[in-house]
């Protein structure tokens, strides 16, 4: 398309003589030309001469509509002349299809801050509701006023726990092994290599056992729970449960929280013992420590309170993982990509909260025992 501009300075009018097709391929140049004319102060009126126009498609019509609005905003006007019947029909039908609205005003900084705060508050309230609902439901299950779906607890326990057994055992063994290697080498310089047993024992029981299991389950089981519930939410399966009078909190959330609450301490205990085994093998095999001395030193170093401390942490971590995963899974809106976002958010938030909780545990236990 070519467009020759004729200026009528006396009447502050520009006449655009259009030639050729006004279609997808040529609309960008046409739009730019109209924008240029809209900015000219000496043009108060634009006349589009359609005499030479061939094909007119919806891109061309949209460009005319945009220009018309732009001119009107500047107190100018656009007129069209020499329209043939088919062009007139197309313009009539498209312009009859609603009128251009003024664009929505952009929110200011305070408005955006307020909206984010309101959104955060809404999320926090929803999280609190989920936790209260889950606790209440599990209370009712405990006093046998409600029951879990048949087989759900076992299924979840197997899926989240038993299937993770091997990988957690392997990592814990390696962790115990590394701890023994690193510590015994340095301690040997002071003739104190037997204290590797204390270090491995306390570190595995109070810190690494619960933490390693927590992080592994957040990555493995938390993501699976979030993805499954998010997919169910997107596909309206959760709504379907509600319409059938089935409480999603009992049907979906409670089995998952309970399963992790049972499985996580068990896995943590396993992780601690496998870690201790790793330390034992390295210390007795490479560090000239006898088996009986290592075991005796470990038993001296560890008390029941250390195991209780580790297991209490693991229950808290289980709640963090399961509640975060259920919450992000059930709260999503949107489609397939929202499922991915929910999964990522569940894992990242769980690991972050586990480390925060761990630091709180460390601070409180130190203050209590030494304060």
């Amino acid at each position: 398309m070519t467009a020759r501009v004729e200026h009528d300075r006396e009447n502050a009018t520009a006449i655009l003589h259009l030639e050729g097709h006004l279609d997808f391929a040529r609309t960008r140049a046409f739009h730019d030309q109209l924008e240029g004319l809209a900015r000219q102060d000496d043009v108060r009126r634009l006349v589009l001469d359609f005499e030479g126009v061939g094909r007119l498609d919806s891109a061309g019509i949209a460009a005319i509509s945009v220009a018309s609005t732009r001119f009107a905003e500047a107190g100018k006007r656009v007129d069209i002349r020499n329209l043939e019947a088919s062009h007139r029909a197309a313009l009539d039908l498209m312009s009859a299809a609603g009128h251009q609205r003024t664009p929505d005003r952009e929110a200011g900084a305070f408005e955006r801050l307020g909206a984010r705060a309101a959104n955060a508050w809404g999320q926090l309230t929803a999280l609190a509701e989920l936790v209260v609902d889950a606790v209440y439901t599990m209370g009712l299950i405990a006093i046998r006023r409600r029951r879990l779906p048949k087989g759900a607890l076992t299924e979840q326990a197997v899926r989240t726990g038993v299937d993770a057994l091997f990988i957690i055992a392997l990592l814990s063994f390696l962790l115990g092994l590394i701890l023994a290697f690193q510590s015994a080498f340095h301690l040997a310089q002071f003739g104190a290599n037997i204290y590797a047993a204390n270090l491995v024992g306390l570190a595995m029981t109070r810190e690494f056992g619960p933490m390693m299991t927590g992080i592994m389950l957040a990555g493995r089981s938390g993501s699976a729970i979030a993805a499954e519930l998010a997919t169910m939410t997107v596909q309206e399966e959760v709504d379907a449960l509600r319409t059938m009078g089935i409480d999603p909190s009992r049907f979906l959330v409670a089995p998952r929280i309970l399963a992790l609450t049972i499985v996580q301490p068990a896995l943590t205990l396993m992780s601690i013992f496998v870690g201790l085994l790793g330390g034992f093998l390295i210390s007795t095999g490479f560090m000239d420590i006898s088996a009986s001395a290592y075991i005796s030193q470990t038993l001296t170093a560890l008390g029941m309170n250390d195991f209780v401390f580790g297991l209490v942490k693991s229950v808290v971590f289980a709640w963090i993982i399961s509640v975060t995963a259920c919450f992000t899974g059930l709260q999503i809106r949107g489609g397939a990509s929202a499922v991915g976002e929910a999964t990522t958010r569940a894992v990242v938030a769980s690991i972050f909260l586990i480390i925060v909780a761990d630091s709180v545990f460390a601070t409180v236990s130190t203050l209590v025992s030494h304060g």
């Binding site: 960008r28 739009h31 945009v66 197309a90 039908l93 949107g334």
Partner: protein, 273 residues
């Protein structure tokens, strides 16, 4: 708009299906003209949607030839086929909108991918197309936040945003109430009149066909049974499957013969007697 004599979709000796040994449809001979609205009609499992998949480039034919806009669809390279398909639009049965994108982003996607139009023009085109299908002011919403009928209209706006020469529709009125379905049919007809689009609609809604279709292609028993206008086909008593469909006459139930059931169970009275 009167259709031209130019053939825009042509199938010759076409066989479609998912396995060569089990074609869903065979010997399909169809010629659809520019500006025509053709309905692919047939009962469940008659092969309507399978044929449509082949026409839109999603399912290679088992045999025969498909020409769309003068090109052999399956002889083209992937790039060539993609370019040809830009000149067509598809309205999927459930909309196939991207759930995580706003309605504006859904409808404008082909424009952003295939053109270099300026943003104000893109937004205006989306607004106009949405208004044309009877939707206004929902651009910022997600598909999940609008009704099923509105989703279908949004999908139609997306299919029509590039002013395609052909629009394929899979069950356009499925799942919609009669009023919304009639409105959608009218919108389709309006688009056809405005842009001279050719339309191929898979449907089994008789009401929809009566108001929409210039010509009906009736599929049954793995074949094209008949092609003609609704008036022509509804009176064809010589084609029982076609006649039954138009007059909503179910086939005689095969039933279970009491005698065979008794025979298999044995007759207790006789044994006892």
């Amino acid at each position: 708009m009167a259709e031209s004599t130019e053939v825009v979709i042509e199938c010759r000796n076409l066989a479609v299906g998912y396995a060569p040994e089990e074609p869903v449809l065979e010997d399909v001979e169809i010629a659809i003209h520019r500006g025509e609205i053709a309905a692919l009609l047939g009962g469940s499992g008659s092969g309507k949607s399978t044929l449509l998949k082949t026409l839109v480039g999603l399912l290679p034919p088992l045999g025969g030839d498909v020409r769309v806009l003068g090109e052999r669809l399956y002889d083209l390279s992937d790039v060539g086929r993609a370019e040809l398909l830009r000149r067509t639009g598809m309205l999927f049965q459930y909309g196939a909108l991207f759930g995580s994108r706003s309605i504006l982003d859904n409808v404008s996607l082909p424009l952003r991918e295939h053109t270099s139009l300026p943003e104000p023009v893109i937004r205006e085109m989306v607004r106009q197309k949405l208004a044309l299908v009877g939707i206004e002011g929902l651009e910022s919403r997600l598909p999940a936040d609008v009704s099923g009928g509105q989703r279908k209209r949004v999908a139609l706006a997306r299919a029509a945003i590039m002013d395609p020469e052909i629009i394929f529709c899979d069950e356009p009125s499925a799942g919609l109430d009669p009023v919304v379905a009639a409105g959608l049919d009218r919108t389709l007809r309006r688009l056809q009149e405005l842009f001279g689009m050719t339309m191929v609609a898979v449907t089994h809604e008789l009401e929809s066909i009566k108001t929409l279709a210039d010509r009906v292609i009736m599929l049954a028993s793995g074949r094209v049974q008949a092609i003609g206008t609704v008036a022509e086909l509804s009176g064809r008593e010589d084609l029982p499957e076609v006649y039954r469909f138009f007059h909503r006459i179910p086939p005689e139930p095969a039933g279970v013969s009491n005698s065979s059931l008794l025979a298999s169970l044995g007759d207790g009275d006789q044994e006892g007697g």
